[in-house]
């Protein structure tokens, strides 16, 4: 009967109830949906970044990150790899690479690129390139003159598959080395910048061209759970001799990490803003509802109702309103997320700006249980807390002054 009474009370003024419900619904919807978009963007950014040659973690010679030159290569990668085999969890993949700055040129154009020498089979399991070639073919194990280039680079150089591209870089002896490669495949990446930056040849070809023997620049590891690198990084660092440095993707991509932090903060700020607006709405409306019923509260007190029961009654009314709003808000948010997750939101209209920020071209919202739970708890718990104010007001009217009120 308490619920029945509360239920009927909230429908005494359907318009007011509708307003409060709409506020809660919009609030919950925007919190859940915006949260899902942010998670979607973050997840995609992290996944792209990890796939774009970063991996879950990387091993280098200590000087390489500050100065990525041949001198800072690892001369005995096999000793690292034997540790990897012992230390990494089942399902982890790794690939060693040569990675140096180079100049690529043809008759029409010339520009700086990153020359990546890969082990084609191993690389395919670690980074995006294995699945990114959409014209021509991927590299073979024995492919001393084959090169993969990005779609955007191909356009810059006004060239196409089958044509030649000359790469120049400093070799191990400090001399300029160069080699003519033939474009065997063209890849596409999430970002045009990636397509312009990286060209791929076989590791053997790069080692031969640069006269570096069996040395490699880096070893990238992809863990079964790609984003969880901390434990494995610590284990590797302690298992490896001191001349190797292990870094997780978070350390390798400080900008992405910073962006994720901004993302988390903006969601928190949004939650706060929504809540402040909604909280004021709830307090206001409930206060109005309470003041309209002063006489009734006086009557109830005269009948022997204790202040605690009156508080419980008003809070029950808020609880019902909040529950209805939350249910509808979640339903709406889930539907929107499901629909948008299918089509995605295409940001290519703003692509230049978005790409500058390193954002994916199309974003897909992703629901995370903990975000949905947080949004709901914020609305429910804080909603109930703010409704205590009107509830205490209602309980404080003395029966005599309340009954005198008409």
């Amino acid at each position: 009967m308490h619920f029945q009474l509360a239920w009927r009370n909230i429908w005494r003024n359907p318009r007011r109830t509708a307003v409060i419900l709409i506020a809660v619904v919009i609030g919950v919807w925007s919190m859940v949906f915006l949260g899902a978009l942010m998670v979607g963007v973050s997840d995609q950014m992290v996944r792209n970044s990890i796939a774009t040659l970063t991996g879950s973690l990387q091993i280098h010679s200590p000087g390489y990150r500050a100065d990525p030159v041949i001198d800072h290569s690892m001369d005995h990668p096999e000793e690292v790899i034997s540790v990897l085999k012992k230390t990494l969890p089942v399902g982890a993949e790794w690939a060693s690479r040569v990675r140096v700055h180079a100049v690529a040129s043809n008759a029409r154009h010339s520009s700086g690129v990153t020359l990546v020498g890969i082990d084609p089979a191993r690389e395919a399991a670690v980074s995006f390139i294995g699945g990114a070639v959409d014209e021509g073919r991927y590299l073979d194990a024995e492919d001393p003159y084959g090169i993969l280039v990005g779609r955007a680079l191909l356009e810059n150089y006004e060239t196409r598959s089958g044509h030649k591209l000359v790469l120049m870089s400093e070799d191990a002896a400090g001399e300029i080395a160069s080699r003519a490669f033939r474009i065997v495949g063209v890849y596409t990446a999430e970002l045009a910048a990636t397509e312009k930056q990286f060209v791929f040849v076989t590791k053997a070809a790069a080692q031969e061209m640069l006269g570096m023997g069996d040395a490699v620049s880096e070893i990238a590891v992809l863990l079964p759970n790609p984003t969880a690198g901390d434990d494995s990084a610590a284990a590797l660092q302690s298992a490896l001799p001191e001349q190797y440095a292990v870094h997780t993707w978070r350390e390798l991509l400080p900008l992405v990490e910073a962006y994720l932090e901004i993302n988390r903060k903006s969601v928190a700020i949004w939650y706060f803003v929504v809540f402040i607006a909604m909280g004021f709405g709830i307090v206001n409306t409930m206060l109005m509802a309470v003041y309209e019923r002063i006489r009734e509260f006086g009557l109830l007190k005269a009948l022997g109702m204790k202040p605690g029961w009156i508080i419980r009654g008003v809070v029950t009314e808020s609880l019902l309103l909040l529950m209805m709003g939350i249910l509808a808000g979640n339903f709406l948010a889930l539907s929107t997320v499901l629909i948008v997750a299918r089509t995605g939101i295409d940001l290519s209209v703003f692509a230049a700006g978005a790409e500058f920020a390193g954002m994916p071209r199309v974003i897909y919202p992703v629901l995370k249980t903990e975000h949905v739970t947080a949004a709901n708890l914020v609305v429910l718990v804080l909603g109930l807390i703010v409704s205590l104010y009107p509830a205490f007001k209602a309980a404080r009217f003395t029966p005599v002054e309340a009954l005198a009120h008409t």
Partner: protein, 229 residues
């Protein structure tokens, strides 16, 4: 045995800078089973006295005891319990909770008292039958006439067999025929259920129903007539 005892009760209201002396020392004793009218012109202090006897307000000085409970020693929450279990109230108007039906209004007090659902409904219907509203159980207050609403209020006041029912001008908003009907019904409840009724009025015809008539004037007892004696 006295159910209500007031000794030197004084109550002063502040209205702006003026002190309004609503009660200037009221001493009276009302026996169990009485059917008592507090009569007096508007502003004489009837409502103030009834509110004090009901524990809705505190006197500035003096003592009030209801059913052996001295109010000076009781907390607000004990007073609320006493009202819930021992005292029924009937006001001039707006006695009912608008969103509850007649039978639910009567049940609500029993709900607060902790009476089980089945018994609640049964007792609420029985008492509505007694006050002549057997076909109005499910009407909301807005769908009842003024007289019917007051009958529901009486039913609610007596449903849990209180020691005392306080009625502040219960007939003031009713035409005289309906008012007489209500008073006859209250008198009937007083006889059959041995519930003490104290009601206030400034209407001579209403006073005629009382077995004891206490006239209040300017916050004092001006006359006290026990017609039974």
């Amino acid at each position: 045995m006295a159910i209500v005892e007031c000794t030197d009760v004084v109550k002063t209201y502040q209205q702006g800078k003026v002190d309004v002396r609503a009660l200037r020392g009221v001493t009276l004793s009302i026996d169990t089973g009485g059917f008592v009218a507090l009569a007096g012109p508007s502003g004489s202090g009837k409502t103030t006295l009834l509110n004090l006897i009901g524990g809705l307000d505190e006197p500035d000085s003096g003592h009030i005891t209801v059913d052996g409970n001295p109010f000076d020693e009781m907390s607000q929450s004990r007073l609320a319990e006493l009202r819930l279990n021992k005292i029924g109230f009937i006001f001039q108007a707006y006695n009912l909770i608008p969103v509850l039906s007649a039978v639910e209004n009567v049940e609500y007090v029993m709900l607060l008292q902790g009476v089980g659902a089945g018994e609640r409904r049964e007792r609420a219907r029985a008492i509505l039958d007694e006050v002549g509203l057997s076909d109005m159980y499910n009407r909301r207050p807005a769908e009842l006439s003024g007289g019917q609403q007051q009958r529901v209020a009486v039913a609610r006041a007596i449903v849990s067999n209180p020691a005392l029912v306080l009625a502040d001008e219960p007939t003031a908003n009713l035409d005289s025929k309906t008012g007489n009907g209500l008073l006859e019904m209250m008198a009937e409840m007083n006889r059959t259920k041995k519930v003490t009724f104290i009601f206030s009025t400034h209407d001579q015809r209403v006073m005629d129903y009382a077995r004891r008539l206490i006239r209040i004037q300017d916050g004092r007892v001006a006359e006290d007539v026990d017609k039974a004696a």
